[in-house]
């Protein structure tokens, strides 16, 4: 029976490391002189593609009303317990709406589960990645910061429809 050649059967040259180490060193040295990919952040801003998961936002219809019906599914599915929803009754056809909708951005891990579970396409991952706070209270985003016009989210909505 012929001996099977396995990945860990190294040749002598490989076994004394030195040549392999030199190869590695050559590679990194070469890379030091190759062009750089860094984006100069505050001056040049990254415009993420539709698949990007920035902070979750709530979709707002043209009439200024949120799509969310406060079903609480996003809050339940959120693995980080970032979302808190308080429902209340409205006169609209969909009789339920969120009086309070808060996402704690310190808890959110940008997994996108909330977006995936939402039956109303109401919560969507935006392209906003600029999140910095100086205290805990600032990190809790209420409806004022979350509501975003649908027109601005069209990109993501198309993406979600295609792949969900």
């Amino acid at each position: 029976m012929a001996k099977k050649n396995r990945l860990k059967d190294l040749s002598f040259g490989q076994r004394i490391y030195i040549t392999e180490i030199l190869k590695g060193l050559r590679l990194t040295l070469k890379n030091m002189f190759l062009p750089k990919f860094t984006m100069q952040y505050p001056e040049v801003k990254f415009d993420p593609p539709a698949s990007y998961r920035g902070r979750p936002v709530l979709a707002m219809e043209e009439n200024g009303q949120e799509r969310c019906v406060a079903c609480g599914l996003c809050s339940r599915v959120c693995p980080a317990l970032a979302i808190e929803v308080q429902a209340a009754e409205t006169e609209n056809e969909k009789e339920r709406y969120p009086v309070k909708f808060e996402i704690n951005m310190l808890r959110c891990i940008f997994c996108g589960f909330c977006e995936e579970v939402c039956p109303e396409e109401a919560i969507l991952m935006s392209k906003d990645y600029e999140l910095a706070f100086t205290n805990r209270a600032d990190a809790i985003y209420g409806k004022d910061k979350l509501l975003t016009p649908v027109s601005k989210l069209q990109d993501r909505i198309n993406f979600v429809r295609q792949f969900k």
Binding site: A87, A88, P119
Partner: protein, 567 residues
């Protein structure tokens, strides 16, 4: 006992039972909407179809009597297909509404749609539209589109509440529920229909849209509305009680509770007027002080009165443990004017659940020796002595006397010194010199003995500052489990309140008597050891359903281990 075979399993049944009853008793769940164990059989939902050998067609298990040697299939191909078909029919006109519907999470239709439905509809036409948001009565809201016409609510009103208030109108797919002309759904048990409605068609107007069911943590406890002591679940979220629901106990309340108990017995617990920390009246104002200061003040004031100038009055809703320690303490300081306050509203009871006695533990308080048997004055005499100025100081335990009857205001105003153990600020505390914050029934462990002589446990559902949900073994929602102090749901209001027995042992300590109890359970164990009526009982034995005491046949011994202390 006769036997039948369900899904290959041989089970015994009582003659006269139907197949679904026999199955349920043996832990086999046959899906059903319209059948309810304590309502009559209607047989209109057709979900409980089963296959029975030697019967040509599938039959509904809810109305087929079980017979000896019957062979029933609940999972055969034919049954599954029929069940799918029935579910598809239900879902033709039922709106796809779960995100908005309040029932979601405890909805039978939702559950069965997951378990017994194919998940696809072949119905492409517009769904039926019916009336939504109909106020059937003061407490119940109806949504016609969600109704699946099971008739449970109608049967409940007819058979349990004994008031014919609801009925079907119209035919076919337009059938809907309404009240009889000129009537409303306003019987004292009306909200029970929201519990038995298998879908979200009937909702409790008090609870609508307050919370998702999975966000709350249920605690098994007892209703504090009257001497019946209905078994209930208290549902809390963020340390706040949002609703009460009845819990099945065949010996007490079956599946039901009254609307008054459901709506009016919990709102004070999270109210803003809770007594938060001990208060002392200084220059006419109640000022929050530390516990030690309040104890010291009470001690020094009470010492300045002769013993027969002092009276202790308790509510009849104390727990057995509270009452035991109160009476032990009162005997130890040799105060004889000692009684509990009855709260009986004649004519308010009925033959269903509601009792005339509005207190929860009159029997227990009596058994624990809260009485004037040591030669003191009874309640009425105490009041008249207060009025005549012969009693000058009163310790009032968990009893809003003036709220009970405003006539008592005159008497209490005459007192030189009034100590109140109270849960909320009320008209009585506005006359008190010292107010101790007492925990409500939803913040402590304990037992109550109902009018039948049944001892039942209450459990804490809301935390005070000295409690911690997980450490105290309280029920936890996901938010309670994983939240931190930095989350908004961790910042809910917690009051500085203590159960009465704890306040009393603090007071006793100031008087120089040490009680070494750290938990209500230890007090109960002492009672169980010293009082033959309670022998063999502990919290585990009482369990979730309670235990019937043999009150009539037993002598109640005097309190054990007295130690007399001079004031």
């Amino acid at each position: 006992m006769p036997k039948l075979i369900i899904d290959g399993k041989e089970i015994e049944f009582n003659p006269g039972q139907t197949v679904i009853q026999a199955a349920k008793e043996n832990g086999i769940d046959i899906p059903h909407f319209c059948w309810h164990p304590s309502l009559s059989i209607s047989g209109n939902c057709r979900v409980c179809l089963v296959e029975i050998e030697k019967m040509p067609k599938l039959v509904i298990s809810c109305s087929t009597p079980a017979t000896e040697g019957m062979v029933v299939q609940t999972q055969s191909e034919k049954v599954v297909a029929a069940r799918n078909a029935v579910m598809e029919f239900f879902l033709i006109n039922h709106p796809l509404d779960c995100p908005i519907c309040d029932e979601a999470g405890e909805c039978k239709l939702q559950d069965y749609a997951y378990q017994h439905s194919v998940g696809e509809s072949r119905f492409t036409e517009e769904k039926n539209h019916k009336e939504k948001r109909v106020e059937l009565g003061p407490n119940v809201m109806f949504d016609g589109e969600r109704c699946i016409s099971c008739s449970r609510c109608i049967r409940f009103c007819d058979e349990i509440a004994g008031k014919k208030e609801l009925t079907f109108i119209k035919r076919g797919d337009r059938v809907t529920i309404t009240t009889f002309p000129g009537k409303k759904l306003e019987n004292p048990y009306s909200i029970n229909v929201t519990d038995i409605c298998p879908v979200g068609a009937l909702t409790n107007r008090d609870f609508r849209f307050k919370s998702r069911v999975w966000e709350m943590a249920p605690t098994k406890t007892i209703c504090s509305g009257c001497a019946r002591g209905c078994n209930i679940d208290v549902w809390t979220r963020n340390n706040e009680i949002l609703r009460l629901t009845p819990r099945f106990n065949n010996d007490v309340n079956s599946y039901w509770m009254c609307d008054n108990g459901r709506l009016n017995t919990f709102k004070h617990i999270n109210a803003n007027d809770r007594v938060n920390g001990p208060h002392i009246r200084k220059e006419g104002e109640l000022i929050k002080v530390g516990w030690d200061e309040a104890y010291a003040k009470t001690l020094s004031e009470l010492k300045s009165f002769a013993k027969d100038e002092i009276a202790v009055l308790t509510s009849a809703s104390l727990t057995v443990e509270d009452a035991y320690l109160v009476s032990k303490f009162v005997r130890s300081i040799n105060v004889k004017n000692f009684d509990f306050v009855k709260n009986i509203v004649p004519g308010s009871g009925d033959a269903i659940l509601i009792q005339e006695d509005k207190t929860t533990n009159a029997k227990g308080v009596e058994l624990m020796g809260v009485d004037s048997s040591k030669g003191g004055l009874k309640f009425d005499e105490i009041i008249s002595h207060i009025e005549s100025g012969r009693i000058k100081a009163v310790v009032l335990i968990e009893q809003d006397l003036i709220g009970l009857n405003s006539a008592f205001e005159k008497a209490l105003a005459k007192l030189d010194f009034l100590v109140a153990l109270a849960t909320n600020f009320d008209t009585t505390t506005s006359l008190a010199n010292v107010v101790f914050p007492a925990s409500t029934y939803a913040e402590k462990n304990g037992t109550w003995i109902n009018f039948q002589g049944r001892i039942q446990r209450i459990r804490p559902a809301v935390t005070t500052i000295e409690m911690e949900r997980s450490l105290d073994g309280m029920s936890l929602s996901r938010w309670d489990k994983f939240g931190t102090d930095f989350d908004s749901w961790g910042k809910s209001q917690k009051n500085d309140a203590r159960p009465t027995w704890k306040i009393i042992s603090g007071l006793a300590n100031a008087f120089g008597t040490k009680y070494k109890f750290t938990m209500a359970e230890e007090i109960f164990n002492e009672i169980a050891h010293t009082n033959p009526l309670f022998s063999g009982l502990d919290y585990d034995v009482i369990g979730e359903r309670g235990v019937q005491l043999k009150t009539e046949t037993m002598q109640i011994p005097p309190l054990a281990g007295q130690k007399k202390v001079k004031i």
